[in-house]
Amino acid sequence: MEFMTLYAIAAGGIFLLLVLVRIAPSFKPLAEALSRWVAKHLAYPYLLGRHRLIGPWTRLAVLLSLAYGVINIFFVTFRASSTSEIGRRAGTLSLLNMALLYPFMQLGLFADVLGLSFDTCRRVHGAAAWMTSALLALHIVVAMLDQQKFSLHEQNNLFAVIV
């Protein structure tokens, strides 16, 4: 990218922002109708009721969890040339998911910053933790399979099993 492009992007961005601010109010009824529809059909109805160990899951929660899983599977497998490539990607993705876990240390504060409820935040934290573990398990399994090919004393192989 050429250096001067930055200037063009900044100037264009300012004009675009002004236009967006101008037309935003006319989208308000649409946004309200959409949020009502989401609340009525996705956020409030339960797919799975409250049970001893699992639930309650709303339709929206299940949909979002599925989407989260699918996106992760996509990033691990998309045009992967070999098993070791899948393993490597799973490791990086696991690290990225783990990075999501740490800002949740102050759950109450973080929930307010994001404008979510405390419970939603706790569930997001849980989902990210499960995803991290699953990807890590994949990473370890692939690394173990690869160990047969590479020398045992190499750093990557050894530490791959460690974490």
């Binding site: 160990l53 990086t92 690290l95 990225l96 783990m98 990075a99 999501l100 876990l101 740490y102 800002p103 240390m105 102050q106 109450g108 504060l109 973080f110 929930a111 307010d112 404008g115 409820s117 405390f118 849980g126 933790a129 573990s133 890590l136 004393h153 190499e154 750093q155 990557n156 050894l158 530490f159 791959a160 099993v161 460690i162 974490v163």
Partner: protein, 266 residues
């Protein structure tokens, strides 16, 4: 690349790293959370720290790139913790030194307890806590505060509990009213201390307020449903609506409150 001698070292690392993660996941199960939440929380945080250290060691150090994924969340965490602590010190009058906030716990004494049938003697006794703040705080309806009361008992300096704020005012509040249900841990100790004379005072540090406040003023009809101590979450909204109705600043015309209680006497 590594030397041969590190093989043994990394084997112990292997056990620690993998072990910390497995422990982290296993201990997060609700069974352990319910057993002792404080213990769970501290273990969880400690294991998370071990985990991040092990991950940091495992990542290749030749380029900064994969490790950046660790540095960024850690930086966010450190920064937010730092700001949080600063805010906490300021709110509680520690940094520009003032009087510490204190909480008065009020409870009905045993002799005054006219109710004969005492099926759940301690658990479920209502407590009223009034927190006098060194700095006025604006608390919206439906928000809660975390209370840290280090001097209540031996282990209470490790505990920090969320309580619903039942008082509401259009501006900032000097005194927060909390309505508390006695449970097993800290609240039981508070009840025991307060039950002797009907009231007891402790130093109590406040962090917050946290939580979302629903925009109830935008509706004409409001239906509030609460059971038992859940009323604590509804009361500030009712206060807010009544104030808004009297000052004609909310749309509300009808408020229905459904409150289910086990026994009226409590």
């Amino acid at each position: 690349m590594m030397k041969e001698t590190t093989v043994e070292v990394s084997l112990t690392d292997l056990l620690q790293g993998a072990g910390s993660l497995v422990a982290l996941m296993l201990l997060s199960l609700s069974l352990f959370r319910r057993l002792s939440f404080e213990l769970f929380l501290r273990t969880h945080q400690a294991l998370a720290a071990v985990c991040i250290y092990m991950t940091w060691r495992h990542l290749p150090s030749e380029s900064i790139f994969p490790r950046v994924y660790l540095y960024i969340p850690l930086a966010i965490l450190l920064l937010s913790t730092f700001l949080h602590v600063l805010l906490f010190l300021y709110r509680n009058g520690i940094l520009p030194s003032r009087t510490y906030p204190y909480a008065s716990v009020m409870c009905r004494t045993k002799s005054k307890n006219t109710e004969g049938s005492d099926e759940g003697p301690a658990e479920g006794t209502p407590l009223k806590i009034r927190v006098a703040l060194p700095k006025p705080m604006h608390v919206k309806a439906g928000q809660y505060v975390n209370l840290w009361m280090p001097s209540v008992s031996f282990s209470s300096w490790l505990q920090c509990h969320p309580f619903m704020v039942t008082s509401w005012s259009p501006g900032k509040q000097d005194v927060l009213d909390l309505f508390v249900q006695t449970r097993h841990g800290l609240t039981e100790k508070l009840r025991a201390r307060a039950a002797l004379e009907g009231t007891a005072s402790f130093t109590a540090f406040v962090s917050g307020p946290y939580g979302r406040s629903e925009p109830v003023g935008e509706y004409e009809s409001v239906l509030a449903v609460a059971s038992g101590f859940g009323i604590a979450g509804v009361v500030p909204y009712i206060k807010r609506l009544l104030y808004g109705y009297n000052t004609s600043s909310v749309r509300v015309r009808r408020v229905h409150l459904v409150w289910q209680v086990q026994t009226m006497g409590k």
